[in-house]
Symmetry: C2
Subunit: 364 residues, 2 copies
C-alpha cells in the first residue's frame, strides 16, 4: 500500500521470539516519524530466520522504495505464514513488482484478501465521519484466525484515516483504541511472533484533530478497530460463537480488563459456551483465580439478559438461558462486580472439537 | 482419618471464591499447631453456600470430635463435588459415624477410593525409609482429575509421615515439596475453590528430623508427592499423555518454573502433543510470551532424546520424533536456556477431543 508521507502509530508483538520484519520495523519506528508505504507478504513469516531474514526484510523495503522513488526507511515490512524458512526472495521481489503494477487506491477487499493465510474470509471495514460540513474516513483491514498451523498465523491490522494530526496525539489516541480492541481479544491465549497493528493518518482531508475534538477520531477508530477485532475472533480456530465478556463496576480499569481476560482465557468457560451451558461456577472460579479481594456475595452475573448468579446461587430458568446460548452466535456475558466505576469488554471464542482437530491433526 | 495429635502443614487454594471448608480450615490453621483427625466428604463441595455452609463444616468437625473424644479444633474438614448446594447434613453425619465404625489404620486404597469424584482410579502410594537401623514411613493419598463437571472437581492430597519434627521445619520442607509437585502440575490451567494439600507428621517413629538430616525427609516426601501429582495429571480430563516439561539452565528458579509453566499451559503445545507433532515453534513462541530477554539463538530444545531446535531451526529426523510421541504415554520435553544454573520440571497433559467432550457435553 502506498500513501502520502504520513504520521503513524505502530504496535508490534511483545513476544520475545520476534520475527525479522518486527525487528526491522522497530528500527524504523525509532528513527522515522513518517512513512509512505507498507508491504506485506503472506505464506512465510520470516521468523527464526536470523541475519539472512533481517537482510531479506530490508530487501523487501528496498524493492518497494525503488518503484515509488522513496527512501526504504519510509517503508514498513510485515510477514505472516510458516516459520523457520527463508523467504524465496526472487519470488517475493517479482510478487512485489506485480502487485505495484496493479495497485489501486484503497481497494480494501483486495488488500484484505492478499494478506489472508488460514483466514476463512477477508476482514475489512470503513467509515466516513461528517463534522461541521467536512468529512474524514477511517478504513481498516486485518487478518488472523488464531495462531494456527504451523503455529504462526499472526494477527495483522492496518487502519488508515485522512485526518491531520500530530504524531503525539495519534499515539495517545491509538494506544487507548488498541487496548480496548486488538488487545482485548482472545482465541487461544497464544501470542504470535509477528503480531502488528498499524495506524496511519495521511492528513489529506481538511479535518484537523486536536485535544478539543479528539473524541471524534477516537470513536471512529475504535469502531473500525473493534469491528476488525471481532472478525478475527469470529474467524477463530474452530469457533462457533463470538463471546463478549463485559465486566462492570470494577475498582480500576486494569482490574476490569484482567477480570474480563481471565474469563475469556478459561478453557472451562470456553467449552461451557460451546456446550451451551450457563455455568456460573466456571466463570466465578476463573475470576477467583486472580486472587483479588472480590466479595462474591455482592456480584451479579448475567448471560444475555438472564441473571444467573445474584450474590449467591439462584433459581433461574436454565432452559431459557440454554436456548439463548444455543440460538445465538454472538453471546453476551456480563459480570457486575459492584465495587467501583470501571468497565471493560473482552472478546473471545468458544473452544470446540474443531480447534483440537485444526491444531492436533494438521501437523507441520 | 484419625491419628496422634500431630504437627501438620496445610496448604489451601488461593482462589478468592473459596469453599466453606477452606474458610473453616484457615481458622484452624491460624490457631492450632496440632491436629488429630481429618474428615473428607465427596460429592458436594460445600462451596458458594454462605453462612449455612460454614456452620455445616463446623458440624462435620464436631461429629468427628465427639466420636473420638477430642476437641473439634483438632479436626480439619474437606469437601469436594458439586457447588452451590447445601450439604445434606443428616446423611453426612450418619456417613461420618458409619465410616468411623469401620475405621482401620492406614488403609490407603480404601481412603483414596472414598474421596474420588470423577477420578478414574484411586491415587495412593507409600515409602518406607531406613536410616541407621531405624525407619520411618511416608504415605499419601490424593484425588483430582482436572476441574471437571460440575466445574469443581478439586485436587485434594494428604501425606503422612511418622517422623518427629518441629512445626517450623515441617512447614519449611513441605513448602518446597509443594512447589515442585502439586504446584507444578497442570491439567487445564483452572484452579479449584477447594484445592487442599495436607502434610501430617505423627511423631510415632524413633526418627527425629532436624536441620542436619532434613534432606532425607524432603526426598521421601518429594517422591511420594510427585507420584501422586503425576497420577492426577495422568488422570486429567481426556488426557492420553503425561508430559514432563524440563527447563534447564535458567537465570533463576522462578524463571525456570515460569518457563515450564507457560509451555505446560499452552493450548497449542498441548494439542501438538496430542497430535504427535514435534512442533518447536509452538514451544518457543509460548516461552516468548513471557517477554523475557531470552536469546533464542542459544537455546536447545529436545523431545525425548531428539534435538529439534539448536539455536536455529535444524534438520532433524521428524518421523523418529513423531514415533517417540506416538509410542509413549509419558513424554519428556527438555528446554535448555543456556543462561544460568537453575532447573525446574513442570507436568502437564495433552489437550484432546475428550477434554472438549467432558467439558462441553456434560453440562450441569
Amino acid at each position: 500500500m502506498k500513501f502520502n508521507n504520513s504520521v503513524y502509530s505502530l504496535y508490534l508483538t511483545q513476544n520475545s521470539l520476534v520475527a525479522a520484519p518486527v525487528i526491522y520495523d522497530r528500527k524504523i519506528r525509532e528513527s522515522q516519524e513518517r512513512i509512505s508505504a507498507i508491504v506485506v507478504n503472506s505464506g512465510n513469516a520470516n521468523a527464526a530466520t536470523g541475519e539472512e531474514g533481517l537482510k531479506n526484510a530490508g530487501e523487501m523495503a528496498k524493492t518497494v522504495a525503488e518503484r515509488f522513488n522513496i527512501s526504504p526507511s519510509e517503508v514498513l515490512v510485515f510477514s505472516t505464514g510458516i516459520i523457520g524458512v527463508q523467504l524465496p526472495m526472487e519470488k517475493v521481489k517479482s510478487g512485489i513488482n506485480k502487485a505495484i503494477d496493479k495497485l489501486t487506491n484503497w481497494d480494501l477487499e483486495l488488500s484484505a484478501r492478499a494478506i489472508m493465510t488460514t483466514d476463512s474470509f477477508p476482514k475489512y471495514t470503513e467509515e466516513t465521519v461528517n463534522i461541521e460540513g467536512k468529512k474524514f474516513f477511517v478504513k481498516g483491514i486485518a487478518k488472523g484466525a488464531g495462531m494456527i498451523h504451523p503455529s504462526m498465523a499472526t494477527m495483522l491490522a492496518y487502519i488508515f484515516t485522512d485526518v491531520k494530526i500530530s504524531k503525539e496525539l495519534l499515539d495517545k489516541i491509538t494506544k487507548d483504541v488498541l487496548e480496548r480492541t486488538f488487545n482485548s481479544i482472545d482465541v487461544d491465549g497464544c501470542e504470535s511472533t509477528n503480531d502488528s497493528v498499524l495506524f496511519v493518518a495521511t492528513g489529506e482531508s481538511d479535518i484537523e484533530i486536536t485535544e478539543e475534538n479528539k473524541d471524534i477520531l477516537f470513536n471512529s477508530l475504535y469502531s473500525v478497530a473493534l469491528k476488525l477485532a471481532k472478525m478475527i475472533v469470529r474467524d477463530g480456530e474452530g469457533a462457533t460463537k463470538l463471546i463478549e465478556v463485559e465486566v462492570k463496576e470494577a475498582k480500576t480499569e486494569e482490574e476490569a480488563k484482567k477480570v474480563g481476560e481471565i474469563i475469556a482465557l478459561s478453557n472451562l468457560f470456553k467449552t461451557a459456551m460451546f456446550g451451551n451451558d450457563p455455568n456460573w461456577g466456571r466463570i466465578l472460579s476463573a475470576v477467583g483465580q486472580l486472587h483479588l479481594d472480590i466479595d462474591f456475595s455482592k456480584v451479579k452475573l448475567f448471560i444475555g439478559d438472564f441473571l444467573i448468579y445474584d450474590g449467591k446461587p439462584i433459581d433461574f430458568d436454565k432452559s431459557k438461558a440454554e436456548d439463548y446460548l444455543k440460538n445465538n452466535n454472538e453471546i453476551k456475558v456480563k459480570l457486575v462486580l459492584n465495587r467501583g466505576k470501571f468497565n471493560w469488554k473482552y472478546y473471545t471464542s468458544d473452544l470446540t472439537y474443531k480447534y483440537i482437530e485444526i491444531n492436533a491433526e494438521y501437523t507441520t
